[in-house]
């Protein structure tokens, strides 16, 4: 197990579990409903280092703005 980091830093193809979701109430709810709940395993499909990232979560692809991706803390697996 490695240390926690923001989802925005997880390279494409890497797997991780969600540890914490920062940010306002509405934002957290919205993310939770899209499948980004604590403990969920996710995979980064696309991360260009800038612009939105594409995450594989619960068998679907979700595009996340970079700002939002920085607010999700994950633990790489």
């Amino acid at each position: 197990m490695s240390k926690k980091m923001p989802l925005g830093f997880l390279e494409a193809g890497k797997n991780a579990t969600i540890c914490k979701v920062l940010g306002g109430n509405g934002l957290r709810t919205k993310l939770g409903e899209m499948g980004f709940a604590l403990g969920t395993s996710i995979q980064t499909v696309r991360n260009d280092g800038t612009g939105p990232v594409v995450i594989s979560v619960m068998d679907s692809r979700v595009a996340l703005g970079r700002g939002m991706a920085q607010k999700i803390l994950v633990q790489e697996m």
């Binding site: 993310l31 403990g39 619960m58």
Partner: protein, 680 residues
């Protein structure tokens, strides 16, 4: 800016209504169409249904309501709120939740929320064919038993399972069963029941909402319900109880309650998934096709060029493909004109029909083939799943003008018609984003403006038609960017909201669906030509022949006098002619009418009008005129949509003023700048 809730106008008791709900991209609209026989447009991107739509079951006329696609009932954006309010306040007798069976886990979240609200739920397990293709197995009987609701496996796109869904849904009206609950754990349950007891004592809230549901939602800090609690009478006790409950839970959990509640729901769903879903093969493999395409389409360097090429191709193809059919339209109207003169002879009535209606409507309809193709292209983008990718690609760019990627979709739809585009802004969660997008959407050149461009471009820029047309569209985009930046800076300052959007798997659009969608949008144009535009043209004709005795459409006629009065305003833009000015005024009804009016005022049809314009206009003045038509005041239908969405006349007035000023200045710069550069 509120989306005031109005109960629907059904006279039937609401418990005799079936509501359709589901996540975006689950085939909900396809099922609605199969159930009711109506032809709604099916898109492959989130947010197709932004308003509830109503129809009736083909077999027995039970009303069916199609609600906007939503991931949850958290009321995060306006379209989610439409769905939630309907379920809560209109209390439909049966709710069909359409779920994408190949993505069951995420879809179940909404189903669980509906069950918690006490809905009489029927689960439509759609896209079962994809489940089989994915080598998954879903035990739907077990799912039905675990949730204690009817579950219907189906593949709506292939019309499988529709009959069973209808019969299960109709049979469910008489169902009565135990209310569904999730165990949120000892600590939270204790607070829920304490809160529930206080809520049950409140006269109005207890009547409006199920007590347990309301208690859970308040603990989740649902902003709408907290607001309602804030304004409710005699709710002190509830507020205190809520405060106590939150304090108690804070001392137990390090995380906030809301996160824990969401997790408990997912925990419950996880448990069900383990029982009903069997995966024979890694699902990731089946998503690999979409991922492979996305590797190219979403590429950092290729993404934007690919998008621009797609757009450029669309405009390049508009003319050659439209040209194939244009002859038929012209021949048809010529034939009608000959027929009319033969039937009615010469005189006032014949003048109305030939000079007025046929010239006007014929000129407008000459653009139909081009409009058909434009809508065909937009349909392809939507149905294939590319639209969501366009939002992804444009996010970085949209961010630089203070908006987020999702705002790009309404803007792109604006190329078709600004009215649905204004409505599509509902999918934007943030009100500031929404307002800015709504205000600049009319600058995206809609298909109604196309007839004006076609007319002038064919006359003056015959060799570079595609390029000149592209330049006008591009100018609209550039102006939209500039205005968005200005509005962001001065009217709606703040950070752009984060971008979250599902990228649906690519689906190959069927020719039938794409043609159907194209026809649906284009038929609105034809209907408009048949009603609003004909009406406008009769009005223009009347203003052209009166006062009695004047020469038809001369400067002494009513319209001539009015046009002459306002014409000097437009002289510095290159077209101080009264006919050009009058046409702009009538263009407010609908932008196509500009062409029709020019036709009527010159007393000629499409062919003749081109000849007259070639003699009386300069290319530069024509370009300046196109620019003004692009920018000046959106048509009445758009103003109506903006009034409806913002619930304020202030914004309608604002958009009229800013587009007038912007249009005048831009045309002025184009014309005077062009003169300085030596164009004419």
């Amino acid at each position: 800016m509120s989306l005031a809730y109005e109960p629907s106008k059904y006279t039937e008791p609401f418990n005799k209504v079936i509501a359709l709900i589901g996540n975006p991209n689950t085939g909900k609209t396809t099922i609605f169409n199969a159930l009711t026989g109506s032809r709604q447009h099916v898109g492959n991107w989130p947010g197709v249904t932004v308003e509830k739509k109503e129809g009736k079951l083909l077999s027995n006329n039970i009303p069916v309501v199609d609600l906007p696609g939503t991931y949850s009932l958290g009321a995060y954006s306006e379209d989610e709120l439409v769905a939630r309010n309907y379920i809560l306040y209109d209390k439909p007798g049966v709710v069909i939740d359409v779920v994408d069976a190949s993505n069951l886990k995420r879809n179940m979240y909404l189903a669980i929320q509906l069950l918690e609200m006490g809905s009489n739920l029927v689960l439509a397990l759609n896209m079962m064919d994809e489940v089989q293709d994915n080598h998954m197995e879903i035990n739907h009987e077990k799912l039905s038993k675990l949730l204690n609701i009817p579950v219907v496996p189906m593949t709506a796109a292939k019309k499988k399972g529709i009959t069973e869904l209808v019969s299960k849904a109709c049979a469910s009206f008489t169902n009565t069963k135990e209310p569904f609950t999730i165990d949120y754990g000892k600590e939270i349950e204790k607070e829920i029941s304490a809160l529930e007891n206080v809520l049950k004592m409140h006269p109005s809230l207890s009547k409006k909402y199920p007590a347990r549901w309301l208690a859970v939602k308040l603990l989740e800090e649902d902003s709408y319900l907290l607001e309602e609690l804030e304004s409710a009478h005699n709710a002190e006790k509830i507020k205190n109880a809520l405060k106590t409950a939150q304090d108690n839970l804070k001392s137990v959990y390090s995380d906030d309650v809301e996160t824990i509640i969401i997790e408990k729901r997912y925990g419950f769903i996880e448990g069900i998934m383990k029982n009903v879903v069997k995966k024979n093969k890694n699902i990731e493999e089946t998503l690999s096709f979409s991922d492979k395409v996305d590797k190219i389409v979403l590429n950092r360097f290729l993404g934007i060029p690919i998008f621009l090429v797609a757009m450029w191709l669309t405009f390049q193809l508009t003319f050659p493909i439209g040209d194939i059919f244009i002859g038929y339209v012209e021949t048809f109207f010529e034939w009608l004109g000959v027929l009319a003169v033969g039937t009615f002879g010469e005189g006032l009535l014949s003048s109305l029909i030939v000079d007025g209606i046929l010239n006007g409507v014929g000129t407008v309809m000459a653009a139909l083939p081009y409009i058909l193709f434009l809508f065909f292209a937009i349909s392809l983008l939507e149905d294939s799943g590319y639209m969501a990718r366009a939002a992804y690609i444009m996010d970085r760019f949209m961010r630089s003008i203070g908006l987020q990627g999702k705002a790009f979709i309404p803007l792109l739809m604006g190329f078709g018609c600004s009215v649905p585009a204004v409505m599509a802004t509902r999918t934007l969660e943030d009100k500031k984003d929404r307002m800015i997008t709504m205000l600049v959407t009319p600058l995206m050149s809609c298909s109604a403006r196309l007839p004006v461009y076609i007319l002038f471009i064919s006359v003056f820029f015959a060799e570079k038609r595609g390029l000149v047309l592209f330049s006008i569209y591009l100018l609209g985009i550039v102006l939209a960017i500039i205005m968005a930046k200005i509005f962001k800076k001065f009217l709606f300052p703040g950070e752009p909201t984060p971008f979250v959007m599902e990228l649906p798997p690519y689906r190959i659009p069927t020719m039938k669906a794409t043609l159907m969608h194209m026809w649906e949008k284009s038929s609105a144009f034809i209907r408009k030509a048949g009603t609003l535009i004909t009406g406008a043209i009769i009005l223009i004709w009347a203003l052209s022949v009166f006062p009695a005795g004047v020469e038809y459409a001369s400067q002494e006629s009513l319209i001539g006098r009015f046009g002459s009065f306002i014409a000097p305003i437009f002289a510095p833009l290159g077209f101080g002619d009264w006919k050009a000015a009058s046409s702009l005024v009538f263009g407010l009804l609908a932008k196509e009418v500009v062409v029709g009016t020019l036709g009527v005022l010159n007393g000629v049809g499409e062919e003749g009008l081109a000849a007259i314009i070639a003699q009386t206009w300069s290319p530069l003045a024509a370009y300046s005129y196109m620019v003004l038509v692009l920018t000046y005041v959106p048509c009445l239908a758009v103003l109506g949509a903006i009034k409806q969405e913002t619930n304020s006349w202030k914004w309608v007035g604002f958009i009229v003023m800013y587009t007038l000023i912007l249009g005048w200045i831009t045309s002025f710069l184009v014309y005077q700048g062009g003169l300085l550069l030596g164009f004419n």
